[in-house]
């Protein structure tokens, strides 16, 4: 009865059909006719976190593509012979079949779409991947569809696994903040509006949401180097791909720290997982 829903190529197609149903996104959860049982639905999602439950179960927090963030019980997942096997670790992107519950759904089947195994087999990769999951967990509401965030998250995890750059996480944070309507202003001083081309920016102020010139900064904000402002501006304007190939530098380090601070400022809480970066 276990994990194998359908043979691989066929299965992929089945999920794509559901993905292309554009109007689904706005509709409330409803039973999927194809399965023919009320309360049963299918989706795909990234496992954000897992918490042990009872003897052998786990509660999973999953950001799904079409049903938003859900919490589901995976029964017996901690047993070594579980039908779910190792598919449900954080960072995994999986195809799911679930029973709709009041608070917790119940996972009945799952299949790997992208295991992102590499992320869990490198300490540095994992400590950069988990803060992305934590930020998404805090930013999203239960059962509120956010397909754009799902798309961004799967993309960011894939990029981190392939390119192994410490800039993926900060870039993801800035993109996530932009989606939330928080776009940092770095082409001009956020206070006196003098263009950065005329008067270089000196520091970044989280409250103002942008860079400040030396005069306006008056020792406030986080001081950033010219190189860091340049890197930030390249990341924000679509130049991430090239930046990912560059070796870590003091500027990239500053941009990383600033992105984390901006995310924590926006969330009004600390990201626990960021303490291990």
């Amino acid at each position: 009865m276990c994990g194998v829903l359908l043979a691989a190529p066929e299965r992929r197609k089945r999920f794509e059909v559901r993905r292309s149903g554009a109007s689904r996104v706005d509709r409330p959860i409803q039973p999927v006719g194809a399965i023919g049982m009320p309360g049963l639905y299918r989706d795909q999602g990234v496992v954000l976190r897992t918490v042990k439950l009872g003897e052998a179960d786990r509660i999973l927090t999953i950001l799904t593509q079409n049903h938003g963030k859900i919490r589901a019980v995976a029964k017996g997942v901690r047993k070594t012979h579980s039908k779910f096997g190792a598919r449900l670790e954080p960072t995994s992107n999986v195809a799911l079949q679930l029973y709709l519950g009041r608070d917790l759904d119940v996972l009945t089947q799952c299949e790997t779409i992208e295991s992102n195994r590499a992320l869990r087999e490198g300490y540095g990769l994992l400590t950069h991947a988990i803060p992305m999951l934590e930020a998404v967990d805090h930013l999203t509401q239960d059962r509120e569809p956010v397909p754009a965030i799902y798309r961004m998250l799967t993309g960011a995890l894939r990029t981190l696994a392939n390119r192994r750059s410490a800039l993926v996480t900060p870039a993801f944070f800035w993109k996530l903040l932009a989606l939330e309507g928080y776009e940092p202003r770095i082409n001009a001083c956020a206070r006196c509006e003098t263009p950065a081309a005329e008067l270089p920016l000196f520091s970044f102020d989280l409250q103002e949401g942008g860079g400040l010139c030396r005069g306006c900064a008056m020792g406030g904000g986080r001081q950033l180097s010219v190189e860091a402002f340049d890197l930030l501006s390249r990341i924000l304007s679509g130049g991430l791909n090239d930046a990912l190939d560059e070796a870590p530098s003091p500027a990239s380090h500053d941009v990383e720290k600033l992105a984390l601070a901006a995310m924590e400022h926006h969330l009004e809480r600390r990201l626990k997982s960021a303490s291990l970066i």
Binding site: C2, G3, V4, R49, T50, K52, L53, G54, E55, R78, T80, H81, K83, F84, G85, A86, R87, E89, P90, T91, S92, T112, S115, R117, R120, E121, G122, Y123, L126, T127, I130, P131, L133, E134, K272, S273, A274, S275, L276
Partner: protein
């Protein structure tokens, strides 16, 4: 929620604080105890008192012990150059059941959890390092759980210990013995492939 008379409610509250026990189960256990013969209940109470009085953490490996050293650390016949690192004392019991291992142990008392922000400094890692230099340990087997926390811990320890010239290995992950290949999940099967060994 309505509550019960003094001591009954206190009992329910105490059980409710135990891991994995919700208010309903706490109530069920409390009422089960109320129905027990006095001597059965006393036996339970006594053993709780006894365990708290007698049991301590082994000074060397942080397993549970009834004196300074646990039975494994005190056992001179076990190979002293070899240490197996586990998350919890119960993992020692699981490994001992295999009767395959004759070295010493070290209990981390947890695992690195990026999600919870639990780092190596909250575990018995520093103590492990001290032991390695002090006890002539040359080989470390990392037997943390094959989940995200256990893997993170294993990677961290490997990064830390390998440069020191120790032989560091990780217990193998793979297919459960007696199972069918076709039912294995992709992650487990992938690990089994990459961790294959020559015959």
């Amino acid at each position: 929620m309505a509550s019960y008379e003094g001591s009954v409610q206190r009992l329910i509250d105490e059980f409710g604080r135990l891991p994995g026990i919700g208010p309903k189960s706490a109530q069920r256990i409390a009422f089960h105890l109320l129905k027990l013969p006095k001597e059965d209940a006393h036996r339970l109470a006594d053993v709780i008192v006894e365990v708290k009085a007698k049991v301590v953490w082994c000074k060397r490996c942080f397993n549970i012990a009834e004196s300074d050293l646990c039975s494994y650390c005190a056992d001179e016949r076990r190979e002293a150059h070899l240490v197996c690192v586990v998350e919890e004392p119960k993992d020692i019991v699981a490994i001992e059941r295999t009767a395959e291992y004759r070295g010493k142990y070290h209990v981390l008392q947890g695992a690195i959890s990026p999600i919870e922000g639990i780092g190596p400094e909250q575990l018995r890692v520093r103590e492990l390092i001290t032991r390695i230099s002090g006890e002539g340990i040359t080989e470390v087997i990392i037997a943390t759980n094959p989940n995200i926390e256990g893997e993170a811990t294993a990677m961290y320890l490997a990064n830390l210990l390998k440069p020191a010239g120790l032989v560091v290995s990780r217990i193998a992950s793979g297919l459960p013995v007696g199972g069918d290949l076709e039912y294995a999940d992709e992650v487990t099967l992938g690990r089994a492939m990459s961790g294959r060994r020559e015959l």
